[in-house]
């Protein structure tokens, strides 16, 4: 029965049926099914199918966004039942947010979704995030990457401050920094000492994989 339940979770994830997924996840806890299997063979497996369909132009952003949100809610339910989520295919943790003084959300949210779909554990701090908040969260979740977004030429300077703070706390060797947003360029990223810059979400995923040592051979 347990394998069937995990398969159903995967299928309902693909169908973007949030409530159904959450019900099944609750049920899996009652039945004592291994939470790690629920995550890797159910939730993550489902979201990867959507990711593949997206690549082929068969699935679209609203489906991925709902699936990523479902994933987040399901993980909150499962968390107490997991010593640590041991997903062999998990790629690592990323803390993401829009920098202080900037309230532009959407580009950053899309990147967060795509990173989730790609297999990262993503902590989205939202908008107007201070350097201290980025660092605190990265420490708390032992993140591999801090990802920062800015839409305004006047706020992108705040990225430098986060990197400075990271260096000051001597975390710069352990935590990589990637940056993006309309006014940001490769040149700017290099000038502030960021480890990666992506022009869109596709590149963001590639760079996150590269920074965590999961670079695809094909690319």
């Amino acid at each position: 029965m347990s394998q069937k339940l995990v398969t159903n979770i995967r299928e309902e994830m693909i169908n973007c049926q949030t409530n159904r997924v959450l019900e099944l996840v609750q049920q899996s806890i009652k039945e004592g099914i291994d939470a790690t299997a629920v995550v890797s063979q159910g939730l993550t497996a489902g979201i990867r199918v959507l990711g593949d369909r997206f690549e082929k132009g068969e699935a679209f952003l609203p489906e991925l966004a709902v699936a990523a949100e479902t994933m987040k809610q399901a993980l909150e339910i499962l968390e107490p039942h997991l010593a640590k989520i041991v997903d062999e295919e998990a790629l690592g943790s990323i803390v993401i947010g829009t920098v202080q003084g900037d309230i532009h959300d959407i580009g950053k949210s899309i990147v967060a979704t795509m990173l989730t779909v790609a297999g990262f554990t993503v902590y989205d701090l939202g908008i107007d995030v201070s350097p201290a908040d980025f660092i605190a969260k990265a420490k708390e979740v032992d993140a591999e990457i801090i990802a920062m977004s800015a839409l305004l030429t006047t706020t992108m300077e705040r990225m430098q401050e986060t990197i400075d703070l990271l260096n000051k706390e001597r975390l710069d060797k352990r935590v990589k920094v990637m940056v993006g947003g309309a006014p940001v360029s490769q040149q700017f990223a290099e000038s502030i000492g960021a480890d990666g810059y992506g022009v869109d979400f596709n590149q963001a995923v590639k760079i996150a994989k590269r920074l965590t040592g999961h670079a695809e051979n094909t690319s």
């Binding site: 997206f54 132009g57 952003l61 609203p62 959300d105 959407i106 580009g107 006014p183 869109d200």
Partner: protein
Amino acid sequence: MAHRPLLTLLSEQEVHQIHTESLALLEEIGMKIESEKALQLLEQAGAPVDFETQHAHFPSSLVEEQLKHAPSAIILFTREGEPALKLEQNNVHFNPGSAATHLLDRQTGERRHPRVKDVIEFARVVDALPYIDAQSTAVIPTDVPINLADRYRLYQILLNSTKPIVTGTFVLDAFEDMQRMLEAIRGGEKQLREKPLAIFDTCPSAPLQWSELTVHDLLLGAQAGIPIELISMPQLGATGPITLAGSLVLHNAESLSGVVLTQLAAKGAPVIYGGSPTAVDMQYGTARLGAIESIMLTCAYAQLANHYNLPSHGYLGLSDAKIGADAQSGYEAATGILLGAMAGLNNIAGAGMLIFESTQSFEKIVIDDVLAGMVKRFIKGITVNKDTLALSELRDVGTKGGDFLRLRHTLTWFRKEHFMPGKLVDRQPYESWLDQGALTSQERAREQVNEILSSHEVSPLTKSQRQDLDAVVKTFMKRHKASSLPEGPR
């Protein structure tokens, strides 16, 4: 007067419904406004305001009342003081898309950051184009400090064109410098108020927010009698509902809040109801401007602007194509410009613009000029009277035979009835097209740009205008410790 073809997407009942729902949204939910001053004005007018959270509710009665004060016509004047843009009724005017962070190099086609030299060349090209009625501060120069780029591009355009200008700021201390520059041309605040030379764009941040900078400009503009253009820009499916009707309610609510703020700042302040809605591409996450849904939303809010009897603006004629003269850039621009003009928008911005409002193109601006000319012809409609019906000519030729070409009637009417686009539109016989190098649209457009730049003369400012303008520029350069800038003041 010929019948004016006018496009409507909504029934009268639906217009009323959108209006009612946007009022309800403003009253129940309200707007976040990052401006102490604006919140104070609203509180004085009886609106429930929370200064802590910077939030205000707009009672419907307040909105309805303030709508009555906004003028229904705004006239912009050339640098020389001649009336140029008449933003009223269903008049249509065009200006380039503004504030591009990139430019397609007019020689190599390479996409790169603009420089002051490009600002100048672009202004001179637009100055020469017959159907683009106004300038905009179209590209952001990157060889000046970023916190001076807003006013410095205005300076260069004032030097290099006589057309009125659509502009805006990037930082808080820019508006007053830019106002001083315009006053230097006119000879004072009063003269500028009487004959506006520039429009300032202010954009609420969807959903339902006004940032500190935009409200700052909006209030100053309203007080100085400088026309303010409201650019609400919900992104369907991201910062606005995915449905057109839903985003229309949001757009209208944001726009009405802007009208209220201008009128509270100064009763009768000139304000233009406008916008730049986009739609999220669900495959790439990009903001589609050339998309039919973005165009539909713009045409629909034109009906709201007409309903309120306010001058209107739309961002149309843009394309998301990557080169200035290909099929996509042509059909997206043509669809937007034609439909927007048919919807009766007074001020249509967007010409020249590509790639999600990020990139200006010399080739596209000259092509869009032709489109603008075509569309202006179209909306003039068909004149039907005794003379245009050609009753006697039809009878003469019908009786005696022969042709119409040599008739005086043809000579009298051909320029009035037919749009002459020039050489950019290829209408040669195949063989001569081949003989002359088989040029593509792109090549012909580049040729035209080169021709304008080598031959077009812009009349200079008077000596005292130039002195006063340079003095303003020198003052802000000094304040910002910018000792020298490209093509700087004398």
